[in-house]
Structures are given as structure tokens and as C-alpha cells.
Symmetry: C2
Subunit: 194 residues, 2 copies
């Protein structure tokens, strides 16, 4: 059940509340945007993440101010957005984008001990599956250094737009190209270090 | 001069404060993440945008709650992130990403009249240059409908990581592939509407 805050209101038909959709978006994304507010207002920063079960795990320097505010129990909002295409309509007004996004609200908990070790391995696995078995594992001080936080997904929802442009009927006959320009994040040729 | 809030503290050497870098990131991005806080905490949502001069312009439904909070003068934080690559080091610990991001803090003003008309055309131009001359122009009611906001860039900074992986010296000889996997947003074959 969506909460008051996670109910999609604008374009409500695009709201998705099933765990499968939420997890699929989170598992495909690489960077999330995390917001925490202090007395001056909100701060939103990009950071890597990984979904582990029904939480999103973040990590960073123990001196990272945004993570420290989150670790102190301030409310967190976390968003992952996958941009799938530009939607060109015959009218300027109806131009849109195809996308899949997830927004989660919650308070973070600090992840420690063996769970922290597994979370740090999961980060590397999320970037490149299989990688954590290949790279040199973290030393005790490397395990101790970062601050690792978990944000619950019990107050999360997805919003999805797919498909063709939607023009007003009166515009359907206009001689203007309309359609979708698909967009995707594509990996190029790896550049080896030397 | 960076303000207290826009001074990059984590990995300070990655901070960039020149207008050219900030504008270049904003002009290349398509989606920004906008955060506004209410009494329950921050909300961060993805949305299209366009830079016009030294402001970032947002638009949406006049019923959009986040935009309404911003229009009411609540502090806004706006972030654009371009992900350029995965950085694989020999150690799990030093894995990183290449990216260019901009964070701006400010309060929004409502854009109206002829300036609103130009801003709405600029949105379409930012998606597809040349498009606003081709698509049917907005009718008076289409011009009136959206809420258009401008967020100033006088408190903005960029953060940039480029280049190869950086391993500990002791790891340099490890037999582990290290390097950069470049990532880019790539447009596929356009799919015409029918």
C-alpha cells in the first residue's frame, strides 16, 4: 500500500507500487540522488548505491556531512531515475520523456560488522558483477573507514512512462515528425590502466 | 567565489567553481533532481530543465506539490549528474566513478508572461535543438497551464572526476584488471509515431 507521501499524484496512472518494479529500477540504476535537509534547507547529492533486500545501501566518507546528517536520524529521500527516451509530439506542449524512477522516504540506519563487509562487497558487485571475487578484498582499516547506511524501502514507489507520444487529436494530422528517441546508458570500450 | 554550502569538501580537488564548467554540465544534462523540504523532510524528484542565462528553469503542473513549495519560497537544491564511467581499481576499496555534477542552492522565482513563453520554447530546444521551430507552438491555454520556475545559479558548484583508477602503490603489481569502463547516454534509432 502506498503511503500518503509515496502516492503518485501528478500523472497518477504512471504510479507503480509493486516491489518488482521498484527493485528492477533500483537494480538497473548506478547512481542515486540522496536528499537530507538541515536548518538551511535540503541538500541533494549523487552517490553510488546498491539494493540489498528491502533496503538501499549507501556509503561514503565518515566525514561526509550529508551521510552524517542521515546517520543522525534526519529524514532521507532517495531517488533513482532511468531515462529511457525523449518523446517528441507534434505540439511543443506535449513533449515528454520516457523514464522509470523510484522515490523512497525513510530514516537510515548505520550498517556495521559483517553486514558492513557484505554491503561493501555488494557495492562492487552492483558496479560490475563478479568483480568482488577478483579485486583485492578490503583490509581491516578499509572496512572500518567508510560510513555505510541502509535506507528502508517500505515507503517507496515507482513512476514509469513508456510508449509513444500522445498528441491532441486535433494535432494528429500535422506534418510534424513525432515519435520517441530512445536513450540508454551504454558502456564503451574499456580503457585499461597501465 | 564558492559559498560555505557550495565548497566541495569531500575530495576537494574535484571541486570546480568556474561558470564555464557549471554551464557545460547543465547544458549537457537532460534531467535534474530537485529537492525541497517540507515539515516531514526533503522530497527529491527528477524533472526536465533548461539553463537560461544564469538560472535553471523548471516547469510542471501548477498542481505539482514540490514546485508549489518551491514557488512559495522554500529553499531549493538542484543537482545534475553526468555519469562518465566506472573506475575499476585492483582493490575493491578504491573503486570509483567518473562523473561531472552540479549542485545549486537557491530560492525559485515564478516565470511569467513573455519570459515564460521563451522558457517553454527553451525546454523543447534543450531536448532537441531546432525543435521549437517545427512543433506546433503552444496555444494561450497551453502557455498559461504550467508553473515555470527559475532557480538562480549564483550559489552553484561543480564536482568532476576524470581519468584512470588510482590504486595504492602496494597494489600496482596485482594481477587484477584495472581501468575505466566509459559510460555515455546514447540515442538509439528514432521510433516514429504512426
Amino acid at each position: 500500500m502506498p503511503s500518503e507521501r509515496t502516492t503518485v499524484r501528478r500523472r497518477a496512472a504512471r504510479g507503480r507500487y509493486d516491489v518488482e518494479t521498484v527493485h528492477a529500477v533500483l537494480d538497473e540504476g548506478i547512481v542515486c540522488h540522496v536528499a537530507v535537509a538541515d536548518d538551511e534547507g535540503p541538500v541533494v547529492l549523487p552517490t553510488g548505491y546498491v539494493r540489498v533486500g528491502d533496503e538501499v545501501v549507501l556509503h561514503g566518507s565518515a566525514a561526509n556531512r550529508l551521510l552524517r546528517l542521515a546517520a543522525d536520524g534526519r529524514p532521507v529521500c532517495l531517488t533513482v531515475t532511468l531515462l529511457d527516451g525523449l518523446v517528441l509530439t507534434r505540439s511543443a506542449f506535449h513533449h515528454s520523456m520516457n523514464y522509470r524512477s523510484v522515490v523512497a522516504f525513510g530514516r537510515a540506519r548505520v550498517v556495521e560488522g559483517e553486514e558492513k563487509e557484505r554491503a561493501l562487497a555488494a557495492f562492487v558487485e552492483h558496479m560490475v558483477p563478479g568483480r568482488s571475487a577478483v579485486a583485492r578484498p578490503p583490509s581491516p582499516s578499509e572496512l572500518a573507514a567508510p560510513l555505510v547506511l541502509a535506507v528502508p524501502l517500505h515507503e517507496a514507489s515507482a513512476k514509469v512512462r513508456t510508449g509513444p507520444p500522445i498528441d491532441d487529436e486535433a494535432d494528429a494530422a500535422l506534418d510534424v515528425w513525432a515519435g520517441v528517441v530512445p536513450l540508454a546508458v551504454v558502456a564503451g570500450e574499456p580503457v585499461p590502466d597501465h
